[in-house]
Symmetry: D2
Subunit: 274 residues, 4 copies
Amino acid sequence: MRLAFFGDVVGKPGRAAVLEHLPELRVRLRLDFVVVNGENAAGGFGLTRQIAEEFFGAGADCLTLGDHAWDQREALTYIEREPRLLRPLNYPVSAGAPGKGAELYMLPDGRRVGVVQLQGNVFMRQALACPFAAADAALDQMPLGTVADAVIVDMHCEATSEKMAMGHHCDGRASLVVGSHTHVPTADTMILNGGTAYQTDAGMCGDYDSVIGMQKEMSLYRFTTQLPGERYQPALGEGTLCGTFVETDDRTGLALRVEPIRMGGRLSAQVPAI
Amino acid sequence: MRLAFFGDVVGKPGRAAVLEHLPELRVRLRLDFVVVNGENAAGGFGLTRQIAEEFFGAGADCLTLGDHAWDQREALTYIEREPRLLRPLNYPVSAGAPGKGAELYMLPDGRRVGVVQLQGNVFMRQALACPFAAADAALDQMPLGTVADAVIVDMHCEATSEKMAMGHHCDGRASLVVGSHTHVPTADTMILNGGTAYQTDAGMCGDYDSVIGMQKEMSLYRFTTQLPGERYQPALGEGTLCGTFVETDDRTGLALRVEPIRMGGRLSAQVPAI
Amino acid sequence: MRLAFFGDVVGKPGRAAVLEHLPELRVRLRLDFVVVNGENAAGGFGLTRQIAEEFFGAGADCLTLGDHAWDQREALTYIEREPRLLRPLNYPVSAGAPGKGAELYMLPDGRRVGVVQLQGNVFMRQALACPFAAADAALDQMPLGTVADAVIVDMHCEATSEKMAMGHHCDGRASLVVGSHTHVPTADTMILNGGTAYQTDAGMCGDYDSVIGMQKEMSLYRFTTQLPGERYQPALGEGTLCGTFVETDDRTGLALRVEPIRMGGRLSAQVPAI
Amino acid sequence: MRLAFFGDVVGKPGRAAVLEHLPELRVRLRLDFVVVNGENAAGGFGLTRQIAEEFFGAGADCLTLGDHAWDQREALTYIEREPRLLRPLNYPVSAGAPGKGAELYMLPDGRRVGVVQLQGNVFMRQALACPFAAADAALDQMPLGTVADAVIVDMHCEATSEKMAMGHHCDGRASLVVGSHTHVPTADTMILNGGTAYQTDAGMCGDYDSVIGMQKEMSLYRFTTQLPGERYQPALGEGTLCGTFVETDDRTGLALRVEPIRMGGRLSAQVPAI
Ligand SMILES: [Fe+2]
Ligand SMILES: [Fe+2]
Ligand SMILES: [Fe+2]
Ligand SMILES: [Fe+2]
Ligand SMILES: [Fe+2]
Ligand SMILES: [Fe+2]
Ligand SMILES: [Fe+2]
Ligand SMILES: [Fe+2]
C-alpha cells in the first residue's frame, strides 16, 4: 500500500497547500490512504466541520487533532458524528472525551488501515494517560499483517525523545510512526529495525516565513517583551505542504520505503519518485 | 566563505563520526570555519578537555555547549583557558558564569568569523537572561560585512517557535542561525528574507538507532514506568554526522547557499556538491 | 511603622473582603502603609482602573500585579498614569514594559516606604530577567534605614524554593519579603536572621470554598477530563481577607514582629492584637 | 479517632524532630494512627530501610513517599516487603511500580484506617496516571464509615490548584486530604462542605532556616548563577515538626476537628489542646 501523512495544517496557507496539492499527489503517488493533522487548520486554532469536509473532499481519508483539538468548540460535537476524525487516544478513561483516538478503516477494496493518534506528556498542556500503554492497547486491536493491512500512528508531542521512544515502542507493529506538533519537518525519515517507518515530525502545512506558521512579528513581540501583544494570526505567505510517504509490503504491512514530501512555499521541494 | 556547523555530539559514536568525517569534509567542502556543539560528547553529559582537543585536532575551530555545559565539572575551569570553547552567552550578568558566549575569531588570512551561542528559555532547565536581547548585544559587537566576515549563531533550545523567532530576529545580521539541543535534524534549511541562512536544528552527531542518542531500552523503561531505571548511556551503533553547510557572499557575509550535511549511520546521506 | 500586605484579590468576594475589612483594619492596626496584590481582582483575571480606585479608596497605598498583570488590557495604559500601581520589576530591560516595578513612596509625615514586586521564573508562564539581580538593583536604590523607612518585597511566583531563596537574598535589606500567586496562605511567618519578616505566601483574598478562588466544579472538570470546559469564574461565597502584618523598628526598618491576618470566610480568623 | 499526618521529613533535622516529638505527641494527643511522609528523609533524597524503621519505632503507622520515592534505590526492594510503606498510587498500571499506593490498615482494636497516596501531574517530574481517577478507585475499595473507620489521603504535588481540587474531589469520602511536597505548611486547615478535613500542605519536618530544608547558600547560588554548584545538603539547624491533627466522628469517619501541628525550630508553635 501507499500511505501519506501530512502534518499540522496551519490557517489559510496550510489549507490552500492541502487543497491545491493533495488531489494531484493522490493520483501521482497512487496513494491508498491519506491522513492529515488538522489541529491548527481554523485560523491556527482547532478545526471546524466545514474545513474538515474540504480536506475530505481533497483526498484525506482521516484527520487527526492534538492539544488544540477543542479550540473550536464545535469539534466537541462534530467528532461524535464523524468517524474519520480522531483525537488523541490517551485521554484518561474517566474523562469521557468525545470521539475516538483509534480506528480501523475499511477501503473500498476491503483492505483495512488502522490509524492511532497519541499525545505525549512531556512539555504538553494536558496531562493525558500514558501514551505507550495506550499504543499497546490500540495496536493489540489491529495486529499488523492480519487484522490491519497498514497502521499509521500520529505521535503528537513536543519532545523528540518521547517521539523517538514511541517509534521504537511500536516498531514492528505499525507501518508508520510519525510525529506532529512541532511544525517543523525533521530530516530523519528511516525504517526502524523492526520494519516500521519513522519520522520525528512531518512538519506543518503552512507558511514557513513565520514562527511555526504564525506571523513572526507577533511572536517576536512576545518573546522579546514577555507582554501579551495581539492574538496570534497565521502568516499568509504561500504554504508548504509537508508530509511523509510510505510504501508497505502487502504481506506484512511493514515499510519498504519512506520519504518526506515537501511541495510549494519556502522549503526545498521533495516529492517521491514513483 | 564556507562554514559548517555540527550539532550536539553524543558519546563515542558521535565523537567517532566527527573524527572520521570532519578532516575529509573540511578539505572536500573547502571549509573556512567549523563549529561543533559538544555538550553531550562525554558519555552523553558535557565535555572534557581531552575530547575538546580531539575535536580541535579534527578540524573544529570553535566548540559550543548548552544546558549540559557543566555536566563535566572540569569544563568550568577549562573554558576559562580555552577561547575556542563557548557556553550560552545569556547567563544573567550577575551570574559570573565562567568563559564566554560570543567571540570573534581571526583566521590565518585575516578574515574574522563571529560565533554566538544562545540558550532559549522555553522548556529549558535553566532560566537565563533574554536570548533575544543577548543576541542584539553580541551582534552589535560584530557587525556583519564590516567587523565580521561571517557570523554563526547557535540557538540551543527545545521549542521550534523560539528557534524560528531567533532566526528572524537575527535575519540580516548573521550568516547562519542554526538550532541545537533536540538531537534531530530538521528539513527546513532556507535563506531568510534578510539573507541569513537558517535551520531549526542541525541534528546530533550520534547513533540514531536510539532515543536522542541514548540507549533506547533505558529511555523506554523510563517513559513506560516513570521509574528511574539506570543512568542513561549513549547508544553505541554507528553515528551519523549531522550539520549545516553555508556559503556566504564575501562582500556582505550573508548566505548564498545553505544545505544540510548527513554522513554515515542511519540517516539518508547528504553532502553538498562543490 | 506598621505595614500590611494582602495577597491576590480574586473576583467579587475578594474585592468585598478588602472593601469591607480594610478601612476598619487600617484604624485598628494603626497601619502606616498597605499593599494589595490585585492581579486577579477583575473576575479572576487582571485589574481595571475602576477596581484599583476602589482599593485606593478603601485604604490601599500601593497595588501590585503579577503574571496576570495585563489580562485586562486597560492596565497597560492605566499603569503609566498611576504611580501607585506596580508590575513585576524584572521584565527584560529591552521589553519596555509599561509602568514600574519598584517605587519609593513618601508618606504625609515624610517617612518613605519602598515597594518592590518581583516575579519568579520557576513554573511561570513568562520568562523574565533574574529576580535576584533585579532585587539587588532595586534595594540598592532604597537602602533600608537610611533612604527608606520600610521596604516591602512582593515575590510573585509558584515555587516555595524560589520564594524562600528570595527571602534570604533580601534578608537585612527589606522589612518584609512576602510571596503571592499560589492563593493559599502559608503558616511560616517568621523573622529571618538578618531582621527581615518573611511569609512564603500571604494567601488570596477570595472564597476558599473553591479551587484557588475559582469555582471548584469548573476546575474539577478540567482536572478530571483534560477537556477545556467553560471559562473559569470566581467562586462567589464569602471571601477571606488574607495578609501579613509587620511592625518595624523605626531606627532600622527591620521587623520587630510579623503575624498573619485572616478575616471572614472559611479560614480560621487571625487578627494581630495591638 | 485521632489521626495525625506529618509532612516531608528532610534530612537529619527533620528526622530528629520526628524522633524527639512524635512519641510524646502520640500520647499527649492520644493518636490512633500516624502517617509520616518520608520522601526526603535520607539526606534530602529518598528513604532507607533504617530510617523507616526509626520512624516506625517512634510511632509512625504508615510512611508515604512522592516524586523522590526512589532516590535511594533500596526503597525499590524494601517497599515490596514493607506494607506500611506507600508510594504514589497512580503510577501507570503498565508501569509495574513496586509496592502499593493505598492500603487499609487494621488497628489492634479492629478499627481500620485507609491511607492513599496520590501524586499530581502539574509541574511534576513524573507523568503519572490521573490522580483523580486513582482516588476514585482507591476510595471505592475503602468506603468511609463502613469498611474504613478513617481515610487519609496524601496529595503529593506542587500546584495549590491540584491539591484543592483533590480536596473537593474526595470531600465526604475521606477523613483528611492533606498535601505534601512544597515543604511549607499552609494556614488553610478547614473542614470542607462534605465533612473532609483539608490542608493544602502539611509543611516539611526540617530546618526552616533554609530553602525548603536544604542549605540556603547552595540554593541561592543556583538561583542567582544558574550554574550547578554543589550537591544540595540539608540545612542542619533545629527542625520543626509540621503536621495536621484530625479528630473524626466514629460513626461516619468524617472530621469533627482539624488543626495544624508545629513544634520546635523556627516556626510559631502550635499544638492542639486535648
Ligand atoms: Fe499541537
Ligand atoms: Fe500544531
Ligand atoms: Fe541541550
Ligand atoms: Fe544536546
Ligand atoms: Fe499569579
Ligand atoms: Fe494570583
Ligand atoms: Fe516531593
Ligand atoms: Fe518533599
